[in-house]
């Protein structure tokens, strides 16, 4: 377990954003829970019927690793001054490739889910923090089942608004899967308990994910040297928490396709109990 020094305090363990230097066997977790049959969580669940929204730089249409994109939207300046934004349909695709990469990982993990895109990045950066919130709010109120957010903001003034939005999503049964920042800095909304936060681990096993016994990052998933979809129908390999996050988002889609009545906290609990390093114990009862 990397207990990397906090950017602000320098104290080990104060802020963990990535698992490095230890194997899954070195981060055991014992949980109290009812045992579930192997594969109960998502075996047979392909994501069918689950709507996943990628809030990012857009998603390239017709990419072979992404497949169909149900709808694409973009956050634009409403032109009324005061930082008001609107969300409109778009065919502008992906500005950077990052959103396409995330969508490809979701598709690979949950092949039958619906993928939607809200583009919040890629334009001139002025106001991008507010655009992120506008896009996320729109996605939450569209009642998507899962939102992949491989983004965060370091701007403290957005924290309260993001926290309210994350809580709203939680009670609407929209699972926000949020990426921890790639640097050891404070950013949001991955720090909130109402979202599922994801960092990367070093292991090569493609489908390995772990629960972090020292949150706020709750799960570690493959984020190193990941083959990802990129612009122009191509692929590249990339490294970062951004690419661990859509793997967990895809798992959430699989869980919800098999157990559509699950709440957000049930989805998180299912991920927790199914993590490779979590062993279900007997609890305190004798």
């Amino acid at each position: 377990m990397q207990t990397a020094p906090s950017a602000s305090t320098g104290h080990p363990g104060a802020l963990t954003w990535r698992l490095v230097g230890k194997t899954p066997g070195e981060v055991p977790v014992t949980a109290d829970a009812e045992r579930s049959a192997p594969g109960w969580a998502w075996d047979g669940g392909t994501g069918r019927g689950v709507r996943v929204c990628i809030v990012d730089s857009g998603v390239e249409r017709d990419h072979p690793l992404v497949g169909p994109v149900q709808a694409s939207w973009v956050v634009v300046d409403a032109g009324e001054g005061g930082g008001r934004f609107a969300v409109e349909p778009t065919d502008t695709g992906d500005a950077c490739g990052h959103g396409t990469a995330c969508a490809g990982i979701v598709r690979r993990t949950a092949p039958d889910c619906e993928i939607h895109s809200v583009r919040v990045l890629g334009e001139k950066g002025s106001g991008t923090g507010a655009m992120l919130i506008a896009g996320l709010r729109w996605a939450v109120r569209q009642n998507f089942d899962v939102i992949n957010l491989s983004l965060s903001t370091t701007r403290a003034r957005f924290t309260d608004e993001l926290r309210l939005l994350a809580d709203e999503a939680y009670f609407r049964r929209t699972v926000i899967v949020a990426s921890a920042h790639n640097s050891p800095v404070e950013s949001f909304p991955w720090r909130f308990a109402s979202v599922i936060s994801v960092g990367s681990h070093h292991e090569d096993t493609a489908d390995l994910y772990l629960y972090n016994p020292l949150p706020p990052v709750e799960f570690f998933a493959p984020g190193q040297n990941v083959q990802v979809a990129w612009l122009g129908g191509t692929t590249i390999r990339s490294t970062g928490n951004s690419f661990a996050t859509p793997y967990i988002a895809g798992l959430c889609a699989r869980i919800l396709s098999k157990h559509p009545r699950m709440t957000t906290f049930q989805v998180k609990n299912t991920l927790y109990l199914s993590a490779a390093n979590v062993r279900v114990g007997t609890g305190g009862a004798s």
């Binding site: 990397a4 990535r18 490095v20 730089s57 930082g83 500005a95 950077c96 490739g97 990052h98 990045l121 890629g122 334009e123 001139k124 950066g125 002025s126 106001g127 991008t128 923090g129 507010a130 655009m131 992120l132 919130i133 983004l151 965060s152 903001t153 370091t154 701007r155 403290a156 957005f158 920042h181 790639n182 640097s183 050891p184 990367s200 070093h202 984020g223 190193q224 040297n225 990129w230 612009l231 122009g232 129908g233 191509t234 692929t235 590249i236 390999r237 990339s238 490294t239 970062g240 951004s242």
Partner: protein, 211 residues
């Protein structure tokens, strides 16, 4: 998307010798740390939303400073708007890489590491490392090292922006950057002292005599 504004060689790094030396030392050290073919520092021109080559080590060292390209696309564009570092590989096989930019610089890398140069909540520019040594590629530890070094590079860039003025930087009070963003920055006395130490450390790393 090729560079559209090339400064004369005499105006490299804004024409100030100390600024040029400082940023050159940053990219030289970055290149050495990662065993890379090249390294560059870009400054973000907020008004035009462009990235401007401010210092280059390795390929393009003699020709790229002053060139501009849009900050709204590509990997560097992502780094600017997201404010996060990124490592990508297999670029040479990717038709979608900003090949027009890369070819205009007469060098198409196979792999690239890029990190934002951040002051507070503002992205001032981007540090890029092209074709790092194999052991430096696609490794989470290297991402941490890159981010760590980028903090020093950002300090250096702040010094240069303070001395020379940031090209096109908007008034911080007028910017509403959230995920990324940028701003002109002024240094206080303590920051200047920290900057002086940074220069000395960089020069020591490079094996140069202090000046």
């Amino acid at each position: 998307m090729i560079g559209n504004s090339v400064r004369p060689a005499s105006a490299r790094n804004g024409g100030d010798p100390l600024s040029a030396q400082l940023l050159q030392s940053v990219v030289d050290v970055a290149r050495a740390i990662f065993g890379a073919q090249a390294s560059s520092v870009f400054v973000l021109d907020e008004r035009n939303w462009e990235l401007v080559f401010r210092a280059v080590s390795g390929n393009g060292e003699d020709s790229l400073v002053g060139r501009r390209f849009p900050a709204s696309s590509g990997i560097a564009g992502w780094v600017v708007t997201s404010g996060e570092p990124m490592i990508v590989d297999d670029l040479a096989r990717s038709a979608a890489f900003d090949r027009d930019i890369a070819e205009s610089t007469q060098y198409v890398p196979d792999s690239l590491m890029a990190a934002p140069l951040v002051h507070g909540e503002h992205v001032l520019g981007v540090l890029e490392v092209l074709d790092p040594a194999p052991q430096s590629r696609t490794d989470l530890d290297e991402l941490d090292l890159l981010a760590l070094f980028a903090r020093q590079a950002a300090t250096a860039l702040r010094i240069v922006m303070d001395r020379d003025g940031a090209p096109g930087a908007a008034d911080p009070a007028e910017t509403e950057a959230g995920v990324g963003g940028g701003a002109g920055v002024r240094l206080g006395r303590i920051e200047r002292e920290a900057a002086r130490h940074l220069v000395e450390n960089l020069q020591r790393l490079l094996g140069e005599s202090g000046s």
